[in-house]
């Protein structure tokens, strides 16, 4: 039996190495379950492990592979397959000193950039030192989430009488109603969904926008969701919940497989709506879509998905970095297709623009 236990624990450890979160309590549950169903049948053991060690549909393929290898029948995977999750290299857009002009070499000009000037500067034109400064400015932003009326009621000076509290009050004062406690609709944070286009044409903005997203997520983790769009859709809310901005951005970068790739905005938007939006994440939310609208895919798909998004949400704000530039005309095919389905097109190229976006979000 001891050897069996070692074998089962070893299997759980192998799973942990492949990135699944199976801590000691799950391993214990696995051992208990294995004892209940017996070890004679491979199928029973499979289910005992899957029910106790997995906690997410994404875990299941990984579990299947590991189970096949550990308990035989399936051939050992080749070395490449062994590291099933490729670690993408650190992405240029997310590291501080890359991909931009050599402005940082002029310390004087960098030092001279006052905060107010910096606020209005286009993210794409910032030098290294300015970027550093911008990071600090972003870190002190305190974007409060927008609010909606809650179902539940809370003590308040106005509103309907609070029966429960009144009874307590009556007991204390021997039946004399000295004060009638009241309660009214509480306020709850309204969900905010940030969709960030991380395709090649948005590369100069991705870092700043993700940092902004981090600030918003940290401020109200439960009511904010962040997804990146490019050739694929990735949810990064979880990664961005970490306190430290550098670690959070690093984790987000590792999660996103398609930085600076192409754009299939319509397709990825559909993936977002199918997997998350329609289920509830976008329902009644304020959605801010950061994108320049360079659509390589079919524009009619984008139009259809934008219509769908609009119907699900409270409002859709399109933040387009180019909209902040002088003489900008919304002529890109993607933007033309999406325009009828957004509540507003705003610039999203500078800190000042982000603050304005947030003012509009609160307005909803």
């Amino acid at each position: 039996m001891d050897r069996t236990v070692i074998g089962l624990v070893g299997f759980a450890r192998a799973l942990r190495h492949s990135g699944m979160a199976c801590g000691p309590s799950r391993v214990q549950a696995f051992l208990d379950a294995a004892e209940e169903v017996g070890l004679d049948e491979r199928d029973s053991l499979y289910w005992a492990g899957r029910l106790t060690l997995c906690s997410d549909p994404d875990d299941i393929p990984r579990y299947d592979t590991a189970f096949g290898c550990w308990f035989g029948h399936d051939p050992m995977p080749s070395p490449q397959d062994g590291h099933a999750v490729p670690r993408p290299a650190r992405i240029a857009a997310l590291t501080s000193a890359s991909g931009e002009s050599d402005e940082g070499a002029e310390p004087l000009s960098a030092a001279a950039s006052e905060a107010e000037v910096l606020r209005r500067r286009d993210f794409a034109e910032l030098g290294t030192a300015e970027r550093e400064h911008l990071r600090r400015l972003l870190a002190v932003l305190r974007p409060d989430p927008p609010q909606r009326p809650a179902l539940r009621r809370a003590p308040s000076r106005r509103g309907q009488m609070d029966a429960r509290a009144t009874l307590r009050e009556l007991l204390r004062t021997a039946g004399e109603p000295l004060r009638l406690p009241r309660r009214s609709r509480a306020r709850r944070p309204r969900r905010v969904v940030l969709l960030i286009d991380v395709s090649g044409s948005m590369a100069p903005y991705a870092d700043s926008l993700l940092r902004f997203a981090h600030v918003v997520v940290r401020r109200s983790p439960a009511s904010t969701e962040v997804f990146t769009l490019g050739t694929r859709m990735t949810r990064v809310s979880r990664q961005l919940r970490q306190r430290d901005p550098e670690q959070a951005l690093d984790a987000a970068a590792r999660a996103v497989p398609d930085f600076s790739g192409g754009t299939r905005l319509g397709e990825t938007l559909r993936a977002f709506l199918d997997r998350w939006g329609q289920r509830g994440v976008a329902r009644g939310a304020v959605v801010v879509l950061f994108s320049d609208g360079w659509e390589r895919g079919d524009v009619s798909v984008l139009a259809e998905q934008m219509r769908r998004l609009r119907r699900l949400t409270r409002s859709v704000i399109w933040a387009n970095p180019h909209a902040g530039h002088e003489g900008y005309e919304p002529v890109q095919s993607g933007i033309v297709a999406a325009m009828p389905h957004v509540d507003g097109m705003v610039a999203g190229h500078s800190l000042r623009a982000l603050e304005e976006i947030w003012a509009r979000v609160l307005d909803r």
Binding site: A21, G23, S25, R26, A29, D32, A33, E36, V37, D43, S44, W47, A48, R50, L51, T52, C54, S55, D56, P57, I60, A150, L151, R152, A163, R164, L167, L170, L171, A174, G175, R188, A222, R238, R270, L273, D274, W276, Q278, R279, G280, V281, R283, E304, R308
Partner: protein, 291 residues
């Protein structure tokens, strides 16, 4: 525990008992239900809508011949709606009666203690489940509740007891069988997941879907069942906004039965499509695929 008394010694026993109620489980579901009863752990079911998460709890209750107590979660649900509340109007009436009867010499302590008795305690689903175990407690759509509620639920489910300040501690004589369902509109907290067994339900394969249709609708002809199941399976391959679940397949077959049809041709399908597809866009896509 009830499972021993009912002879549930293996997942196969559970499968047979569920089968007898008209719920056709696969190996995964049977093992999940078996382990949840034996290990006394809540079972968290996730999966596409219409794969039979809620139906599993109902089938378990009828297989074990115990009561099903259902807690439907929603945004803003709180302990008073889930656990217990005091019947305030009756308490007040009681207090007034005592006052009138005593002729002005009411003993406040005695009056207060007479107010907080089980007479005035309104048991909501969780408290009822603790009191009436053995039973099946279905916590439906936990992903719709708020984070705070999940933490609260975790506390109740790990102790199987609650303490009501004015009343005392209510402890379940034996833990109820708990099934939680989630549609993944939001991620369920890790702490709650850790406490539960986790089962991800897939749409059934063709063969099992035919068997389910035939089991649930005894009047359904084998060929029609196969046609409906095959059509629904094909629809799931298309990129639909809302792919049909088993529940929709059942609705469809039932509406065909009601119309007295014994074959599914394009014409019949087109006129009854509303039973399976709930979006205009989906119906258009399916019609386009037919042509």
């Amino acid at each position: 525990m009830a499972d021993d008394a009912l002879g549930m010694k293996s997942p196969a026993d559970v499968a047979a008992a569920l089968d007898a109620t008209g719920y056709l489980p696969d190996d995964g579901i049977a093992t999940a239900a078996f382990l949840s009863m034996r290990m006394r752990r809540p079972l968290l079911c996730e999966g596409e809508p219409g794969t039979g998460k809620t139906a599993l709890a109902q089938a378990l209750a009828s297989a074990l011949d115990v009561e099903l107590i259902r807690l439907q979660c929603h945004e803003g649900i709180d302990a008073a709606q889930a656990l217990y509340d005091w019947d305030f109007p009756r308490q007040l009436l009681h207090l007034r009666t005592l006052e009138a009867a005593s002729g002005g010499s009411l003993d406040p302590d005695a009056a207060e203690s007479s107010l907080y008795t089980s007479r005035f305690l309104l048991a909501r689903p969780l408290l009822r489940a603790l009191r009436e175990a053995p039973c099946v407690l279905l916590v439906d759509e936990i992903d719709r509740a708020d984070d705070e509620f999940e933490a609260f639920l975790l506390e109740v489910l790990s102790e199987y007891s609650v303490s009501i300040p004015e009343y005392g501690v209510v402890r379940a004589a034996e833990p109820p069988i708990v099934v939680l369902t989630s549609n993944r509109t939001r991620e369920v907290h890790d702490a709650l997941k850790r406490r539960c067994l986790y089962h991800w339900l897939e749409h059934p394969g063709l063969e099992r879907e035919v068997a389910i249709l035939r089991r649930r609708l005894p009047g359904l002809d084998e060929r029609l069942a196969e046609q409906v199941a095959a059509a629904v399976q094909r629809m799931r391959q298309l990129e639909l906004l809302k792919p049909p679940g088993v529940a929709e397949a059942l609705d469809w077959a039932q509406s065909l039965l009601a119309l007295g049809k014994d074959e599914l041709d394009t014409e019949v399908a087109a006129s009854t499509l509303g039973a399976v597809l709930k979006y205009r866009e989906d119906a258009e896509r399916v019609r386009a695929a037919w042509e």
